[in-house]
Amino acid sequence: MTGIDHKKVLAQRLSARLGRRAVLKGMGAGLLTATAASGVPGIARAQQSGHLKIASIKVIDTLDPHFTGFLSAIQIINNIHNGLLKIVYDGENVTFEPDLAESWDLEDDKTHVFKLREGVMFHDGTPCDAEAVKFSLLRVKEGEPASPHAWKLALLDTIDIVDPLTIKLTFSEPYAFLPVALTGSTGRAGTIVSPAAVQQYGADYGRHPVGTGPFKFVSWKENDAIELEANPDYFEPGMPKLERVTFVLMNEASTALAALMAGQIDGMTDCPMQLVDQVDAFPNATLYGEIEGNYTFVGMNCKRAPFDDINLRRAVAWALDRETIVQQAYFGRAKKAYTPISPPMTSFYDPDIATSGRGQWFDLEKAKAFRAKAANQGEIEATYVMAERGPVGTRIAQTVAPMLAQIGIKAKLELVEPATWLKRRNESDFDLYDFEWVADLDPDETIYPEFRSDGAWNFGGWVNTEFDELCAQAQVVLDVEERRPLYYKAEDLLMDEAGIAIMAHMPIYKVFSNKVQGFEYIPADLVNLHTVSLA
């Protein structure tokens, strides 16, 4: 017996930490290899029929997986492309399984070997082989211009092509975050694009995406629609089932809902919370949605007065009545949060968090006690920057402001348009703001880039070197039992020093008319349509 079975360790860890309720110990390795045997490509040609029209409410920036920063774009990109790995959800557990790969093995804890499926072709007829995979990974890691997702492959040392269908990735450290880095919803570092198409279109690849996915890109008319058609040579047998898919690009969600009710469209990739009651009352549509991997918070500017004062920040953290916020701002749909780690990360989320004594919650007495310790005892005026953005727009600020008034903080609500809001947040030009980090699949991406002392997204500027060390340490620990307490400790530091005031975990909704069958919900805001058919 030499060393440890790294693949098993990783597999266990993956199956365990992302499970929703049950932790199926020992089954992990099975989950990873389960898909390995699934079919030889091109045997059964699917019979496609039906034209699905689905409203996409948000902005699509680009269809280039390596450059998009928008989940709404990923929802479409994912139907055109495949990755080395994919996210799978069985209603209980989120797992990562090989997608374009037939198998995924770990030679040691730093070396991953992917054996690719045979005969997979891009939509332009070029083969998807180890060369293509290497090309895509390098495009993310060190392409020109630099991909915003390059950091996810920063630890990738070498890429070796063993044979045309086998590729070996060597990392400089055990990279616990890899499956998420390759598939994570806002990243797409592991998505494989056609090298021929990239060479042909260059920077315009995002308007001419060519992948291996179940649907081929047809056209994109600005503010109108993105059209896809079935890829009859798709490697998963019997799929896709639809002949054509139209993503109707819309700005107004209430119009989309009306169109759904009138039968003009078959679904919505996103259903804002304010419309959920109406959808519930409509008998011909089905709502898909659960609390996903996210958290919302009120951010405070720790770099300048008044919130450079830890006691004042703590006062804010304890003064927020989360129950009222959930009811008023989130239409009663969200779940009170105590710490950032969210329910879908089961092996990290504490089911008894409400009674565990960890984190932040509403306690006005405690808030007032902290307020009494604050340096500034006069009435404090603070600028709260808000914008019509996010699922609940300006409602949070309006709900939070009176709560702050109770502890002698006068929030000056400043409504700016989204681009200005973004600039002010990124330049830390605020006292208070609210935001949500979404589509998290791992505690690392939940807190580390957001609150690391020199983190690019640490807009509030909270600094704690112990927190940094804990997270860095947890990044290379593969064992859940060992990793969990590190994140708990890191979270506790953040909550205790009130780097933010945490609020809620949100559900993310999608709607389909009852004609639409076979939609597989994945709690990472994905809309994969290869299994979908129209009755």
Partner: protein
């Protein structure tokens, strides 16, 4: 007349120049930049700087403007920063026809409904019909178009399923389909104008009907309908056309909300998303087109006067 037209066109070019500088400058002065929006949250300073340089956004303001203007007049409208759309195709070939169709429909509705209503109100002055149309007109001017749009959708498209909720079909490709899709948005956008035209027609027609030539026509024994619809209405054409020309700006403004509610891929939606996304060149293209449209229509209005009023025709 040719001289007059050429003079107007020269004026137009000067105006367009100032409009382009103003819109370019204003948008640049507004905080926020396209790269930040396009990169979302996950980016490094390095990729930010690279993209900024690649798109030429690190150049000084005047250089950026000059670069844009030189290309624009040569017919190269550029490519949008984020989505990499060819702006000429997007703005001119795709968005403009949609907005023109919507605007034409609204104008047609406004004239076809507003003028008869106004004429009848004027003729039946101080009757119940007149009072009723006054109330309708006031409601029409006061009612926000986006709310009306949503109400129309819920009633006619969702409840009665008579019309489609949204979408655009080019009447050039499918004539009846195009009209069918334009009825609700056209009606929404035209309410304000129907109301305005009704009131304007009523007021001017009442004045016209007191003129001696009307009395003369009546004295000649011409039938009442001819007196009203020929002698009367012809004489309100000039104020009507003038107001319509000047109100075109309001109409184009209205397309923003109407296009959003009915999801029509026109200039209104294009400009909204371009301003929010700080797509400077798309905004420029939109502003240039609407400004040209506005000036062009008012030029046509000026040129139409001699046809509407024989007294204004140049004597040879």
């Amino acid at each position: 007349m040719l001289r007059q037209a050429l003079g107007k066109i020269a004026q137009t070019l000067v105006v367009l120049f100032f409009v382009s500088v103003a819109s370019f400058g204003l948008l640049k002065l507004a905080p926020g930049d396209p790269i930040q929006i396009m990169l979302g949250s996950e980016y490094s300073q390095e990729s930010y700087e690279q993209l900024t340089a690649q798109l030429g956004l690190d150049q000084p303001f005047l250089a950026q403007y000059a670069d844009w203007a030189l290309r624009f007049v040569q017919g190269d409208w550029g490519t949008s920063y984020v989505a990499r759309t060819d702006i000429y195709t997007y703005a001119f070939k795709e968005a403009l026809p949609v907005t023109l169709t919507l605007a034409s429909f609204s104008l047609a509705f406004a004239i076809l409904i507003g003028v008869p209503l106004g004429v009848i109100s004027a003729v039946k002055k101080d009757t119940a019909f007149d009072a009723g149309s006054a109330v309708l007109a006031l409601t029409g001017t006061a009612f926000p178009s986006f709310l009306l749009g949503i109400l129309l959708i819920w009633f006619f498209a969702v409840k009665l399923q008579l019309f489609p909720v949204m979408g655009y079909i080019s009447p050039w490709q499918d004539f009846w389909g195009g009209i069918y899709h334009m009825i609700l948005p056209g009606l929404t956008l035209s309410t304000y104008f129907i109301a305005m035209i009704t009131r304007l027609t009523r007021a001017t027609l009442i004045e016209v009907m007191e003129q001696p030539y009307i009395a003369a026509a009546r004295a000649r024994g011409e039938p009442s309908w001819r007196v009203i619809w020929v002698h009367g209405v012809r004489n309100i054409a000039m104020p009507l056309v003038t107001i319509l020309g000047l109100q075109l700006g309001t109409l184009l403004q209205g397309t923003v909300l109407t296009e959003t509610v009915f999801n029509l891929p026109g200039i209104g939606q294009m400009l909204t998303s371009a301003v929010l996304g700080r797509e400077y060149m798309v905004v420029q293209a939109g502003v240039m087109m609407t400004a040209t449209l506005f000036i062009g229509v008012n030029l046509l209005v000026d040129l139409s006067y001699p046809f509407l009023d024989p007294r204004l025709r140049a004597r040879k």
